[in-house]
Symmetry: C2
Subunit: 363 residues, 2 copies
Amino acid sequence: MEERTIQVDLCSTKKEKPKSDQLQFGKVFTDHMFIMDYSDPLGWHDARIVPYQPITIDPSAMIFHYGQSVFEGLKAYLSPEGEAQLFRPEKNMQRLNRSNDRLCIPPIDEEFALQAIKELVALERDWIPASEGTSLYIRPFVISTEPYIGVAPSRHYKFIIILSPVGAYYAEGINPVKIAVENHYVRTVKGGTGEAKTGGNYAASLKAQEMVANTGYAQVLWLDGVEKKYIEEVGSMNVFFKINGEVVTPALNGSILEGVTRNSVIQLLKHWNIPVAERRVSMEEIYQAGKDGLLEEAFGTGTAAVISPIGQLTWNDEHLYVNDGNTGTVAKRLYDTLTGIQYGKEKDPFGWIEQVEEVSRVK
Amino acid sequence: MEERTIQVDLCSTKKEKPKSDQLQFGKVFTDHMFIMDYSDPLGWHDARIVPYQPITIDPSAMIFHYGQSVFEGLKAYLSPEGEAQLFRPEKNMQRLNRSNDRLCIPPIDEEFALQAIKELVALERDWIPASEGTSLYIRPFVISTEPYIGVAPSRHYKFIIILSPVGAYYAEGINPVKIAVENHYVRTVKGGTGEAKTGGNYAASLKAQEMVANTGYAQVLWLDGVEKKYIEEVGSMNVFFKINGEVVTPALNGSILEGVTRNSVIQLLKHWNIPVAERRVSMEEIYQAGKDGLLEEAFGTGTAAVISPIGQLTWNDEHLYVNDGNTGTVAKRLYDTLTGIQYGKEKDPFGWIEQVEEVSRVK
Ligand SMILES: Cc1ncc(COP(=O)(O)O)c(C=O)c1O
Ligand SMILES: Cc1ncc(COP(=O)(O)O)c(C=O)c1O
């Protein structure tokens, strides 16, 4: 039987909250965290909210050696009415379990995990920053904790949720970035762990990212690991191109992460009757479209930046400028609509928003 | 300046040591461990040997999220004279730094890391089991500890060394195993992290391993991630085949780990004038050799098992039996010679052995 109640142990003193205009990404954490343990044969148990604190863990714990871990990332937004709301959180819980399956981690009851997020966010709602573009980032993650240095699935895990107030991604409005196409390193490959949100994919990406950052690029564009021809993702985002009126994005092929933003963008485009296709997209095709003047827009999608327009794409020393380095109209419309829905300023025709609690906030 | 002294803080009570015939792999750890910290701009500092103990680490520490970690594995053996000795440890330290480089982890002074291993092993020498085939497994590893959930190289690390007394890999002598060729999942790919000893590669391998274990196989044989045609490794070992008098092993191609045992095997074969080639080896070639009666031996190589003969290889429901399921003469000779050198029972013509200390042990 899955445990259903969450013990709450409140902290005695609260931390000082950072000022809204000084928020950075992922450096400050709230007063409490959620933890639940797994062990054989008990299953997931001992769900609790406790003061945010370091965890104590054996140096032989598997997470330190064999990287068996998964994570998620979503946000809580404050609506004009002061309500805390989540954007399609069930999608993140589903993906968490798909990741768990790939990594041989026992599944977590999705409804219960969502309940845990809601209880924690409700408790920490004063931490949700109110300024334009700010939010409370939610990081659920699972780590393998069995003290055993043999290569095998762990028999002990911790599922933890921590929260971090984060600033507006674009301090001065949405801004196109420079991207370098990566020809040497790959993030992952079909048959590997690319579909899962697991640490190893990110560890593998650091080297390429570090190298391009040194030459002034914001992110790399990843090509497929098999032929190094087909586009996969950009940085830690899914990627879209508008070519001659049609929007295309790489089809899910086993090595691409299925982004919640990606899925939402596709739905919005269909809703707007803008042609959109999920298919293989080669770098050659994008390059040709650019040369032929048909590449109208390019942008990344992800929870952190929502929409991140690409102004320049560099491939083997060839520079391709997209829309003269300006944000395209589709990218802008997607950004405005998605953030409008997320912050409760626009109608939510798809039922994407989930309230954390109904109690309205004293302002 | 690299720190050169190691502070020692001894434990007050010692643990009971497991009986030599009850040793398992990687479950029991010795009384002390080595730790050294890294931070910007201090570099590696505060090298110390302390009582074996849990570490306390923030839940936002990067290791839990983005898998930035590397490790090594080697052993201390007890010679007939009671001397603790290491096998080519400098190779492990070199590989540690190659792994560090791929994972954007700052390099560690190799001589100092080896000194740390020696000091720790010397302190724990009573933990080196004396029975045939037993040893003290040494696990150096680096984890990223910065409390920051942004995807970037960490600016804080811990380098830790723990020790575990381990039993004979083959309780009843060296024994051929059944291996299944993996056609769906891949461990890693060229451009990925396969050359590095990092957690993500092992996390990626669990699923395939779990699936074949359920059907009675010991390990999977990994094919290349690009064409799924060429042989890479078997389980967490490098792999060799003897075909019509010649020994072949997959050439280092960017996705194969460069094993210390692999390198030693190649040197021994050359020394014995047995033809040996490092090149691409396709599964088709091995299958044909088997069908033609030319596949004389197959075996994995690694620190844990030294030599692990393959008695059966299953590929797409086709079963290939190697040497009638018996250990081949080359595999046996390699095993005897390598373990002979490691345990100080045979001459060491290549200077592979490094003594931990000269003081002879009271018996
Ligand atoms: C590798 C990768 N691709 C794509 C995405 C976008 O996914 P989502 O839209 O769910 O945030 C993420 C996460 O943010 C990611 O880590
Ligand atoms: C993936 C992998 N391949 C091969 C080996 C063999 O390397 P070594 O001979 O250095 O132990 C190891 C480690 O033992 C390994 O983890």
